[in-house]
């Protein structure tokens, strides 16, 4: 009998050698005359165990990891095709504590299925949300999304249903659904993982958004740093077209919807929705002033929904199981689940989907297992390069939009980057300014010029040139950037800078910054 072996094609797993392991296992199976079928699945997101190899046995799916090419021989010797004991044996995949404790709504199939098999997707409850939506009016679809409490997962946390309703009511023959897959924040990879591991859920979410708003064309704007995600998305779109999921008659209905993938070109600011729209139109990725809202005058001046990948991927489960089901998870005004991405200097790095409300300490110490280096945690940056650095003293902050705002931080796209005690927080503050200077779209002076001044001010503190006055200057500069910037690139860069200065004042003393000449 053919034994099914799962080896992820996720670029995180491939970066750790999954392709080589797959080749080695295939070659060894031939050599030993074993009848195997290798399925390249998505990742479950436990990167310290990648490449994680699973075998389908009579006892269910059993996992081994992290598997290196050197392990392959001994895995066969140990009879891993039948679930044999081996030093890399992890037991039942679903019983691995990191996975078992999660609430996987958005990522429910990621890792389980062959990403580009529509049959697999359907066999695991895929398309049920869309089938329900096809029987509903656009008002009712929007109402379900509004009632679910879903807020945009791209960073700003704007209620998705309200945005959809604006587009639904906007006059226009041609409307668009634009999926923001620019995912530029350091420490985040949820969009990448789901596009590589379960692309059909994004397609399904975008079609539902189309039904709800009257849009018939969708675009996925993905960063060029994600070639694998782009390839897999394109492949899935082809499969969807061939199976009439996309096209003039979605699943045989009277609705038309089609979509394509567009590639960015290495500009962080193009994740900002209006800059993204300019970029898609073939212009410089300069931020547009609002109003007009993209919902009314978006892509090509037409009504456009711009939503993050995870926002759109959370819609199918809401339509499948109902608004209440989703809303019952979470705390306060943060409803449902959030895929937390634990990254950086951390033992158990990966994606952890759970209801809102865990504390930062639980995420870093318990789920993440502390630092990879084994040294104490000094700081945690939450929400990407525009997010604040948190000290251990704030580890009781619950993962919730409002609670993070109250602690002068933000959740952003839910990336959590851990640093051990070797980090120099003044250097991190300098980097935040440098990053803003590199990525500024150039429209506002505080962002464009202020950020370069910011790096210079930090350099002066480092050299001991009147450090106390420079610190005041740095705070003033942040104040100017915060209030004088059109978008959050200039406006939020003060978060990492000021949090570093506030929580780690001891680091802001004259000392060599250990920065190589640019």
């Amino acid at each position: 009998m053919t034994v099914k072996i799962y080896i992820p094609l996720d670029s995180g797993s491939v970066a750790l050698g999954a392709d080589d392991v797959a080749k080695a296992i295939a070659a060894e199976a031939i050599k030993r005359g074993e009848d195997v079928q290798i399925v390249r699945n998505g990742s479950f997101g436990m990167y310290w165990l990648e490449p994680m190899v699973e075998v389908e046995t009579s006892r269910g799916r059993l996992a081994y990891g992290p598997v290196a090419v050197e392990d392959v021989d001994s895995l066969f010797d140990a009879g891993f095709l039948g679930g044999g004991e081996h030093k890399r044996f992890l037991g039942h995949t679903q019983d691995i504590p990191f996975l078992k404790a999660q609430t996987r709504l958005t990522f429910q199939r990621c890792g389980i299925i062959d990403p580009v098999s529509l049959d697999d997707y359907r066999a695991n409850d895929g398309l049920k949300g869309l089938e329900n939506a096809l029987r509903m009016t656009s008002e009712d679809i929007v109402k379900a999304v509004t009632d679910s409490g879903l807020r945009g997962r791209g960073g700003a946390g704007f209620p998705t249903g309200i945005k959809w309703n604006t587009v639904r009511q906007a006059p226009g023959d041609q409307k668009y659904i634009v999926c923001n897959a620019d995912e530029g924040d350091s420490g985040t990879f949820a969009d990448r993982m789901i596009m590589e591991g379960e692309p059909f859920v994004l397609i399904e979410g975008m079609i539902i958004a189309g039904l709800a708003t009257g849009a018939t064309k969708g675009y996925v704007y993905t960063r060029s740093e994600y070639p694998d995600a782009i390839r897999i998305m394109n492949e899935a779109i082809e499969v969807a077209r061939a199976n009439k999921l996309l096209g003039p008659k979605v699943l045989g209905s009277d609705y038309a919807f089609d979509m394509e993938v567009r590639m960015g070109a290495g500009a962080y600011v193009c994740g900002e929705e209006t800059s993204l729209l300019n970029s898609m139109e073939g212009k410089r990725g300069v931020v547009r002033a609002k109003p007009p809202l993209p919902a009314l005058e978006g892509f090509m001046g037409r009504p456009t929904v711009v939503n993050n990948v995870i926002s759109l991927c959370s819609v199918p489960v809401i339509l499948e199981k109902g608004a209440e089901y989703y809303r019952d998870f979470g705390m306060g005004r943060s409803r449902g689940t959030i895929p937390i991405q634990i990254a950086g200097n951390v033992k158990h790095g990966g994606l952890y989907e759970t209801a809102f409300g865990l504390t930062l300490g639980e995420i870093v110490d318990q789920i993440g297992g502390g630092t990879a280096s084994g040294r104490p945690v000094k700081a945690v940056q939450v929400g990407g390069p525009l997010g604040a650095y948190f000290p251990q003293e704030l580890f009781d902050t619950p993962f919730d939009y409002e609670a993070f705002a109250k602690a002068d931080g933000l959740i952003g796209h839910a990336g959590v980057v851990v640093f051990d005690d070797s980090v120099d927080m003044m250097k991190q503050a300098r980097f935040a300014m440098e990053f803003c200077a590199i990525e500024s779209c150039g429209k506002c002076t505080p962002c464009r010029i202020g950020s370069t001044r910011g790096t210079e001010v930090v350099d002066k503190i480092a050299r001991g040139e009147d450090p106390e006055m420079q610190k005041e200057l740095l705070a003033d500069l942040c104040e100017t950037m915060k209030f004088g910037s059109l978008c959050a690139l200039g406006g939020f860069t003060p978060y990492p800078v000021m949090s570093a200065l506030t929580h780690f004042p001891d680091d802001f003393k004259p000392h060599a910054l250990d920065i190589a000449a640019e």
Partner: protein, 159 residues
């Protein structure tokens, strides 16, 4: 591809790319990507052709191409190594790794070695933040890159 292409040859090849893509809504970025795929960079001579095909001014096309970090004005080396410089990778030693690469290759960021073999580029996040530090070598992702691993990569691209 010969190294001494005439403006005319460039123009013909770029024109073909434009004809294939100009039907898209917002065709300029897809065209620039395709041109860079074809030549490794955006040749000076391509701007005029693209401008003409899309009914834009040459300055507009140049303005767009120069806005985006991806588009190169010069031909890169035979190999392109991108090293992530963003925070999650910093927490795992990316700054040291970048310095090491610069020393070994005797280049600064975005420069090409004197033998035209390797171009070293910074990148800000590859979505491999749980396998930091991360790099991309000729389009292929590599995770948990330490100095030894980088040295091995460098000797592979040198051979």
């Amino acid at each position: 591809m010969s190294l001494t292409e005439t403006t005319e040859e460039i123009s013909i090849r770029v024109g073909t790319i434009c004809d294939g893509l100009s039907g898209l809504e917002g065709a300029l970025l897809p065209i620039l990507h395709e041109v860079q795929e074809e030549f490794g960079f955006i040749p000076e001579g391509a701007l005029q052709t693209i401008a003409k095909k899309l009914n834009l001014s040459r300055a507009e096309v140049h303005g767009v191409a120069s806005f985006y970090h991806d588009f190169r004005e010069e031909k890169p080396g035979r190999h392109v190594i991108k090293i992530c410089r963003a925070e999650a990778c910093q927490s795992m030693g990316a700054d040291d790794l970048g310095d090491h690469a610069k020393r070994k290759l005797k280049v600064d960021w975005s420069e090409t070695t004197s033998d035209k073999n390797v171009t070293l580029e910074p990148v800000f996040c590859l979505g491999l933040c749980a396998c930091a530090p991360a790099a991309m070598v000729d389009g292929k992702v590599v995770g948990r890159v330490n100095k030894d691993r980088l040295d091995r990569i460098l000797s592979e691209v040198r051979s």
